[in-house]
């Protein structure tokens, strides 16, 4: 393994800026790594070395021409296949978009390019971001680098696995119910869900519009903050994008202290139903925070218990409408257009062939929940629960500065283990969903191993207090790495 691929993004950025290594050399090292290990991991759906090297060359040329470039210029990144890219196909992990080349770049994509990040390729995901294991991809599951018989989390499993297997120092993800934090937790890396509206959704293929949030993956907190800063901020193309300055996340990640900070342990996400190793690592993290000077108390958020059922009404409802556009008329798959069938029949045949079972399940759930006569009992009630959850957060943040919980109740399960049990699969996002419903910020950082598999610590902060979770995340990362004698990922078996 080339030394270049083990380095973090900030460090690579400095080496490239200092002329110690070129962006092309760094890109080549990562392309080599992908060629070597991705057969075992299946993190990427699309890699095109020529396009990647051309981007790297362009960064080197910009620098040679004396252009002032950001801290991540020349650093490679793996990009979730849910973001449109005008130079690479975009499928959202679905057969229905196989081979679709978008005519435009997502705002996040455009900002990556502007910051000089070099896109290595597009990463695998659960179809339309629906899932917690990446098993719902139409292009085969991604495997967890810690144990390739296990899932890398989902829906952004390709992105978490790419970073955890040193195929990329950074990757993008999207988090609708935990799709960044849960994969980060089960692969032993950092994953952040910013405040809803903090980064643009324009060009991000929608699953559930009111919940979808783009965010970064990295192998350390500072790298995640640098990427967060690079693609966040107001975008006139997204009505729900917040017109405010990006919180000072990089400064917070560099600072990393918790002295005097009030930390709340969410009572409802602790104890019974959690894997013992997960609870043990979480309790140790609490002790570490206390030893660093944080004041830890227990906080009750009683309505968090209803978050999961509310989520499984709201998200499917929105997706049933968002996915209606995949009708074979203008792009993507078209089935049955033999001249004998009506447009409606072609639409139905295409959707039957193009969507996987989980997507169909959610479209049906959502269609039902929105239908006349059921709306109030399902969608309407779920929205009321959403308001109650927001109030729980508001009440909690009057007592504490951040809330913490395990990111996910268990470590990575094995591929196929929960494939036929949607309810068991949905439980993977039990702790992460409240944050999506309330729209606030949360991060997952590694906090140790349970039976040799990574455990994540979730840190939650109020809306637009994204810097606070970086501050706490960086502090605990430093303390734990001192204890472990290096990053948790160093303990992963070699691929």
């Amino acid at each position: 393994m080339s030394e270049l691929v083990t380095k973090g993004a900030a460090e690579l950025g400095e080496l490239i800026a200092g002329g110690d290594v070129s962006a092309v050399e760094v890109a080549r090292a990562h392309l080599d790594r992908i060629a070597r290990v991705d057969g075992q991991v299946n993190a990427f759906l699309h890699v095109d070395a020529e396009t990647t090297l051309a981007q790297a060359r362009a960064v080197d040329e910009r620098r040679a021409a004396g252009e002032e470039l950001g801290p991540l210029a020349g650093v490679p990144i793996a990009h979730k296949d849910v973001f449109t890219t005008a130079d690479m196909p975009t499928t959202a992990g679905s057969k229905i978009l196989e081979g679709w080349l978008p005519p435009y770049d997502a705002t996040v994509t455009a900002r990556l390019r502007k910051a000089g990040l070099v896109i290595l390729g597009k990463t695998n995901m659960d179809e339309f971001a629906m899932g917690s294991s990446t098993e719902n991809s139409a292009y085969g599951p991604t495997r967890n680098p810690w144990d390739t018989s296990r899932i890398p989390g989902g829906s952004s499993g390709g992105s978490s696995a790419a970073v955890a297997s040193y195929q990329a120092p950074l990757s993008t993800g999207t988090d609708t119910g935990g799709s960044i934090r849960q994969p980060a937790a089960v692969t032993g890396i950092v994953g952040m869900k910013p405040t809803y509206g903090g980064a643009s959704r324009y060009g991000m293929i929608a699953f559930a519009s009111s919940l979808d949030t783009p965010g970064p993956f990295a192998r350390n907190v500072l790298d995640a903050a640098l990427l967060h800063e690079a693609f966040s901020g107001h975008d006139a193309m997204d009505s729900t994008s917040i017109d405010a300055a990006v919180p000072p996340v990089v400064e917070a990640a560099r600072r990393g202290d918790v002295n005097g900070l009030r930390v709340g342990v969410v009572k409802e996400f602790h104890g019974e139903g959690y894997e013992p190793g997960v609870t043990a690592r979480f309790d140790e993290a609490v002790e570490v925070l206390e030893s660093l000077g944080a004041k830890v108390v227990e906080v009750s958020c009683p309505n968090f218990t209803y978050a999961l059922p509310a989520y499984y009404l709201i998200a499917p409802s929105e997706c049933s409408s968002n996915l209606a556009r995949f009708d074979a008329m203008r792009y993507g798959l078209r089935v049955g257009d033999d001249g004998s069938r009506s447009a409606e029949e072609v639409m139905a045949l295409t959707r039957a062939a193009g969507f996987g079972p989980e997507v169909k399940r959610r479209i049906m759930l959502g269609t039902y929940a929105l239908s006349s006569g059921y709306y109030d009992a399902y969608y309407g009630k779920a929205q009321q629960v959403r308001t109650l959850i927001k109030r729980d957060f508001e009440a909690a943040f009057e007592q504490v500065d951040v809330l913490i919980s395990p990111t996910t109740p268990t470590t990575a399960f094995t591929i196929g283990e929960r494939a036929d049990d949607p309810m068991a699969m949905y439980l993977a996002d039990l702790c992460t969903i409240p944050t999506n419903l309330a729209g606030n910020a949360a991060i997952s950082v590694p906090c140790g191993l349970s039976d040799g598999l990574p455990v994540g610590l979730q840190i939650m902060a109020p809306v637009l207090a994204d810097d606070r979770v970086y501050r706490v995340g960086a502090a605990i990362e430093r303390a734990l790495e001192d204890r472990w004698g290096g990053p948790l990922l160093a303990q992963a078996p070699a691929l």
């Binding site: 973001f83 449109t84 975009t90 959202a92 978009l97 679709w100 978008p102 005519p103 435009y104 997502a106 959704r201 324009y202 060009g203 991000m204 293929i205 929608a206 559930a208 519009s209 009111s210 006139a236 193309m237 997204d238 009505s239 729900t240 409802s317 929105e318 049933s320 409408s321 209606a324 556009r325 995949f326 009708d327 008329m329 203008r330 792009y331 447009a343 409606e344 639409m347 269609t367 929105l370 239908s371 006349s372 709306y375 969608y379």
Partner: protein, 494 residues
């Protein structure tokens, strides 16, 4: 059933839903231009094509337009409301949902006063809401131009995403036999109102204003309203009137034959003047409305609404009251001017220097006749109020008489150029050279000695024949009044 018979037995209740395309420069949720008649699919982008990942952003100018309409209709502008998604599959719907408004419209509880045959009706407005237009399907190869039986269909998305305002009335009861006229008067008044605001060109023939007409009948004296039908595809003011009339006749026939009215959508056919059945309520779609999560709620500030209210121009009703006084019109004359759609045209002609009486005369007689002949609206004639004023100025100066002026109108309408160009090209000048006119009169008197003697003996009325002869000799280019004066003078009868 005959109309009179139907009205003797039943009382109609109306309801009208009107869609108006706003004339904003760009579409409702993206920056694409909105011009009518562009090559298909040239005014599109990822947003209005509904490409994966694309998101809508509200056009501020469209919200301004709908608020102006709401205010002009005496509506309350709500402080907070949302867009909603109306979900249904159709090939000309890029996202297979339409961004519209459902239970939270922007403007509510207004009214519009309209006049039909001298009576004033207050039409209550339930709501005015904002939505986006769909694309346009062209069904090729079938006999009817509808999707059934077509070989294939083409879709033009240029129209997709054009801002559309929907104006919904409350049920309109107690119009009796005037129901068709009231419906037409409402559509006419609404069109005038929206046009005066300058937010839409409201051309029914181009589809920028479209009406759906709801009609139900109940037996005279009954307390409960009957089942209603909704007639679509009503594309002119005249069709609004005809559709209501035809639907009243049809429903009365069904009811008096012991049948029941099915709640359904019906289509109006311009050629036959009849409606045919469309979709029934049983087959009706469940649109699964829910708040549009891609758009933040609308919360027009009270200051902004007040500003827009203060900026409203003079509205048609007020303008009518003013011009009636200024032009000294009887109620009947005013109604004719309004019905002809001539108020603005006459005003502009007056503004360009013509006196009101003459301006009204030209627009209401000569030009109305020509518009009727050509089957177009008055304002669609290829002549401007400034040109009408110029022609009238020549008449006032004695350079043209009415007969010549009509020839100038003909020339301008035929595209021969501006009035002065037509006058020059056709050589249309009143013979105003007194010497020439005088010698022509002498010749006419000599040729008609018997008539001349009658005039000399005091039968002044006989001079008309001599004036006619003079006009004939000058091919109409003499000033008839002056010719008459000269004839009487020469014959010592003045």
């Amino acid at each position: 059933m005959k109309y009179d018979e139907a009205l003797a037995k039943y009382e109609p209740v109306l309801g009208i839903e009107t869609h108006i395309e706003l004339g904003t420069a760009s579409k409702m949720f993206c920056g694409c231009p909105t011009g009518f008649g562009a090559e298909p699919n040239t005014q599109v982008c990822p947003v209005c094509l509904g490409l994966p990942g694309a998101l809508p952003v509200t056009n501020h100018a469209a919200i301004e337009g709908i608020i102006k309409i709401g205010l002009a209709l005496n509506c309350e502008i709500v402080e907070w409301c949302r867009f909603a998604r109306k979900n249904y599959f159709y090939p000309d719907m890029p996202k297979n949902f339409q961004i519209s408004q459902y239970d939270e419209p922007l403007c509510v509880n207004g009214f519009l006063e309209v006049e039909a045959e001298g009576e004033t009706y207050r039409i209550e407005i339930e709501r005015v809401h904002m939505e986006e237009d769909t694309g346009k399907s062209l069904h090729v190869g079938g006999a009817t131009g509808r999707i059934q039986g077509a070989d294939h269909s083409l879709v033009d998305y240029n129209r997709a995403g054009i801002p559309l305002v929907e104006i919904v009335t409350k049920p309109i009861p107690a119009t009796g036999e005037k129901a068709p006229l009231v419906a037409r008067a409402y559509a006419t008044e609404l069109r005038e109102l929206v046009r005066s605001l300058g937010v839409s060109d409201v051309r029914m023939e181009e589809g920028s204003m479209r009406c759906d007409v709801n009609v139900s009948l109940m037996p005279r004296g009954a307390a409960e309203w009957g089942t209603r039908t909704e007639t679509k595809n009503v594309n002119s003011l005249r069709s609004v009137e005809r559709a209501v009339r035809s639907e009243i006749e049809r429903q009365a026939g069904v009811l008096s034959g012991g049948g029941r009215i099915v709640q359904e959508t019906r289509h109006f056919h311009e050629d036959t003047g009849r409606t045919t059945s469309g979709r029934s309520k049983e087959e009706a779609q469940d649109y699964r409305y829910f708040p549009e999560p891609d758009l933040v709620p609308m919360a027009p500030s009270r200051e902004w609404v007040a500003e827009l209210k203060a900026s409203l121009p003079e509205l048609p009703a007020a303008r009518r009251r003013r011009v009636q006084a200024e032009w000294a019109l009887s109620d009947l004359e005013l109604r004719d001017v309004v019905n002809a759609g001539a108020v603005e045209l006459i005003e502009a002609t007056v503004a360009a220097g013509a006196d009101a009486g003459a301006a009204r005369k030209w627009w209401m007689n000569e030009l109305s006749r020509r518009a009727t002949e050509q089957g177009v609206e008055l304002d669609a004639l290829p002549i401007t109020p400034e040109q009408v004023a110029r022609i009238q100025a020549m008449v006032a100066a004695g350079e043209l008489n009415d007969k010549l002026a009509r020839q100038v109108f003909e020339g301008v309408l035929a595209g021969e150029g501006a009035p002065d160009e037509v006058v020059a090209a056709r050589g249309l000048k009143v013979v105003s050279d007194e010497g020439e006119l005088s010698s022509i009169i002498d010749r006419v008197i000599a040729d008609n000695a018997a008539v001349a003697d009658k005039v000399r003996s005091g039968k002044v009325a006989a001079a008309g024949a001599l004036v006619g002869a003079v006009m004939k000799a000058t091919r109409g280019q003499a000033d008839a009044g002056r010719a008459r004066e000269l004839i009487l003078e020469k014959l010592g009868a003045s």
